[in-house]
């Protein structure tokens, strides 16, 4: 029966080619715009570490200006980064399973005696757990030791892409690399890793690629490395030396901890509150104690990674899909009613209402399928166009490249959604046509 309905469907499609093309076009356009917008939305605002959402926490503490909050719009939130001295003090706790304090820097990477142009490289100055806490994969080697962090030892992890540039992609563990003027030894090569958005450091664009080099945290004091991200201060301080800067109230360090269960969470929270109380008693600040442990999904919301534009885009995508579906319902209805006399004959010859309904639903399915296929192709084209819009400098892909890493699930989700919405849109016309009393059409013949 199904194959017969399919045959009928194709025959009917050919009967009014204009109307058919209009319908398929509307479905395809609706699906294409939805696939594009939702893919973009997901790339910008998904939770890239959802599997650890219940154990990962961003650590923030409020030592900001007693007279005004860090963010006037969200006065309940502490600054998104910590001061150096608070980060160092809190890092000593052994409650978390993994813990990381870090910031972004920029250095020039080169290899002695190799014909590779020195390259300006985004570098993460971080403690060793960075890779374990965010489940960062390694191609070769691994992270450094505890002792290396504050020694600090001249060890470095480089990205797979950087390893290809510097060493042609071979296992480079043990090789020497120059960072500005200091020699480091490669201990690990990070495999491809592209969290979208870059949740672990929200200072820069959320579509930014991860750093290509990683060095132990102790080097920032040893080499006087300033942050290449944001450094924010509120207190007028007479900062003359790097040591003054490290002791200042400027916030520039990001901290994350992994707390495996509620007990660990509560203990660590108590530890933070205790530390803040001590600081307060020491006369440091007069802001109410406000220490926060924030899960990744909330972190993205707090930091406005899901921007207003993105929400408008999603609203627009759904408005668009709605118009396309209304259109499809209208056109399907017109088409089915056009063929009503034939349906009348079928009913008179003994087809049940259910059979008529099924037959028309198959026709809707055929239209949706063709529309979905075309829509997917069109959506791909639109995404290519979108990438071009976001490409500023072809040699410096960054955000545009992030859109290329679009994952299959989001496309399948958007496609499935649109497909089933179209089928749902066909339910009413298919039902309606089955309700028509056959006599009224037979009469006119």
């Amino acid at each position: 029966m199904f194959s017969y309905y399919l045959q009928l469907a194709f025959r009917n499609l050919r009967r009014n080619p204009g109307l058919t093309a209009l319908m398929i076009g509307a479905v395809a356009l609706g699906i294409a715009v939805c696939v594009m917008t939702l893919t973009m939305y997901r790339a910008i605002s998904g939770n890239p570490i959802w599997w650890k959402n219940d154990v990962l926490y961003a650590v923030t503490m409020d030592f900001w200006d007693p007279q005004q909050p860090n963010n006037e719009d969200k006065p309940e939130l502490p600054p998104e980064q910590l001061t150096y001295r608070d980060a160092m003090a809190v890092y000593r706790s052994d409650i978390p399973k993994h813990k990381v304090i870090m910031h972004k820097a920029v250095g020039i990477l080169s290899v002695d005696g190799q014909q590779v142009k020195p390259e300006r490289t985004a570098t993460r100055v971080t403690t060793k757990d960075f890779f374990a806490i965010f489940d960062v994969p390694f191609q070769y080697g691994g992270t450094w030791t505890d002792a290396a962090d504050f020694g600090p030892e001249p060890v470095m992890v480089i990205s797979r892409g950087m390893n290809e540039k510097l060493f042609g992609g071979v296992n480079s563990v043990g090789r020497r690399v120059r960072w500005n003027d200091h020699e480091f030894r490669v201990v690990g090569v990070r495999d491809n890793w592209m969290p979208l958005p870059a949740f672990y450091d929200v200072n820069n664009g959320s579509l930014e690629e991860p750093e290509d080099a990683y060095i132990p945290f102790g080097w920032n004091a040893a080499l006087e490395i300033y942050s290449a991200g944001n450094t924010n201060g509120w207190k007028p301080e007479d900062i003359k030396t790097f040591q003054d800067f490290l002791n200042s109230e400027d916030v520039w360090i990001q901290m994350w901890v992994e707390l495996p269960d509620a007990a660990a969470h509560d203990r660590f929270k108590a530890f933070l509150d205790n530390y803040a109380t001590q600081q307060k008693q020491g006369g440091r600040h007069s802001r109410p104690i406000n220490n926060r442990l924030t899960k990744p999904d909330q972190w993205l919301v707090d930091n406005g990674v899901v921007g207003n534009d993105d929400r408008v885009l999603v609203g627009l995508a759904f408005a668009f899909l709605a118009v396309c579906l209304l259109n499809t319902v209208g056109l399907l209805l017109a088409k089915f009613l056009n063929n009503a006399p034939i349906t009348g004959v079928r009913r008179a010859l003994g087809a049940s209402r259910r059979q008529i309904f099924m037959q028309h639903l198959v026709e809707v399915g055929v239209i949706s399928s063709i529309g979905a296929l075309l829509g997917l192709a069109l959506g791909g084209l639109l995404l290519t166009g979108l990438r071009a819009l976001y490409t500023v400098d072809p040699t410096d892909a960054g955000g545009a490249q992030a859109l290329a890493h679009v994952d299959v699930t989001s496309v399948v989700t958007a496609l499935g959604l649109a497909f089933f919405a179209t089928i749902a849109a066909g339910l009413y016309p298919a039902w309606r046509i089955g309700r028509i009393p056959p006599a009224s059409y037979l009469k006119a013949q």
Binding site: P118, D181, G330
Partner: protein, 406 residues
């Protein structure tokens, strides 16, 4: 009014309302999206088009990063600046600490009196360190006062100090000295109460962050940027920027092995990047809205076509009993106009609701009603245009059809 036969048209429409209701819903959504999209796009276009106060078309930016152990920053920038100033077509060149309109920069709080002040009395300013050619290189207009002189330029420093003199924008001066029409020569203070004298006032200039409402609060200090990375700002004669960029790459690219000439870029590169999201949002809204209106127009067209094709016999009968072609065209246009109007009425409510939501989200003024009126007229026109062809086809139906199939 009876000549227009409104009542029979309405009742005919009501008997087959499903299609009409669907199209009216499309029109409602279409109007709501159109009105708000135009409003948001207008805001973005205005934002991108704001005057910057600088000679943006003729400015080039150069970054040089020293990395070798024996790198001599002082000698390096002196040599580079001398080389650049000697190139044909260069009007002025300066070492500068940051690039305006690039999204990167630094800002500090300043105050009109020394000592502790309340947060309200601390006035933020985008700060830039420039040398004696800085004002000329930026192409900014001083409404009073003077540019920096070479003996005032301080050497690079590791501290975050301000300098004893500054050139500030009118907007900044007005905020810090609200009651003083001519603040030239007055003294203001930085966060640790170091005095700064205003030696010049800039008519208008943009600072670092295009999304900041204090974008036009700029404070220029006479100082050389801290090493080992130098940024040079070069202003060229109109039309010479490509040639000068090539020359700079050639001359500076190989002059010093202890540094990396990171890039030589036109100003557009940074401005484009800063406004990228605004520009893309505008492009995106315009394209999606046009596509949406096109689909809505197709929906109207489809409905009208269907209505004509199911009433061929009735049309023939009307023609046979004396209706003119014009009457038939009018019938379908009026019918379509009723559907469109119903959609527009619903769409007005929807447009205002979405407009309210957007104005809250973006902290924009409430949707201007002119946009709504314009959108309504636009949708009416689109509706008429979409129904015109089916209506004309209907008027071509021969009166003979009335008798043919009976």
């Amino acid at each position: 009014m009876t000549a227009w036969n409104l009542r029979p048209i309405a009742s005919a429409l009501w008997r087959n309302r499903t299609g009409a209701v669907l199209v009216a819903f499309q029109i409602a959504i279409g109007l709501a999206v159109l009105v708000n999209a135009v409003y948001v796009v207008k805001q973005r276009v205005d934002k991108i088009g704001r005057p910057t106060g600088m000679d943006t078309a003729n400015m080039i930016w150069v970054a040089s990063a020293g990395f070798a152990q024996n790198f001599d920053y002082d000698a390096s920038w002196r040599e580079d600046i001398a080389t650049i100033r000697g190139l044909p077509g260069v009007k002025a060149a300066s070492v500068i600490s940051n690039i305006p309109l690039s999204g990167g920069g630094s800002s500090s709080g300043f105050q009109a009196k020394p000592g502790e002040v309340t947060p309200d009395e601390s006035i933020p300013g985008n700060t830039y360190d420039i040398d004696e050619q800085g004002v000329a290189a930026l192409g900014i207009k001083l409404s009073s006062g003077r540019a920096f002189e070479s003996q005032e330029i301080l050497p690079p420093t590791d501290t975050f100090d301000s300098a004893p003199q500054a050139i500030v924008t009118k907007a900044f001066a007005k905020d810090i000295f609200p009651n003083d029409p001519n603040p030239l020569g007055k003294t203001f203070y930085d966060g640790i109460s170091k005095p700064i004298t205003i030696v010049g006032i800039i008519e208008h200039m943009h600072g670092a962050w295009v999304g900041w409402d204090k974008l036009d609060h700029v404070v220029l200090f006479p100082r050389i940027k801290r090493g080992p990375t130098a940024i040079y700002l070069v202003r060229v004669e109109p039309g010479r920027s490509d040639a000068v960029m090539r020359e700079i790459e050639e001359k500076l690219g190989s002059s010093n092995p202890g540094r990396l000439l990171r890039w030589v870029r036109p100003f557009d590169y940074f401005i484009h990047q800063s406004y990228l999201d605004d520009r893309n949002m505008a492009i995106f809204l315009v394209s999606v809205t046009s596509a949406l209106l096109a689909i809505t127009a197709l929906g109207i067209f489809g409905l009208a076509t269907f209505n004509v094709s199911t009433r061929i016999r009735q049309i023939g009968t009307r023609r046979a009993v004396g209706a003119r072609r014009l009457d038939i065209v009018r019938h379908f246009l009026v019918e379509n106009w009723m559907v469109t109007s119903a959609g527009i009425v619903a769409g007005c409510g929807l447009a205002l609701a979405i407009g309210y939501w957007i104005s809250v989200k973006y902290e924009l003024p409430r949707l201007d009603l002119y946009y709504l009126v314009g959108g309504m007229l636009g949708i009416w026109l689109i509706g008429l245009a979409a129904a015109l062809q089916p209506a004309r086809r209907a008027s071509g139906i021969s009166p003979a059809v009335a008798s043919r199939t009976v």
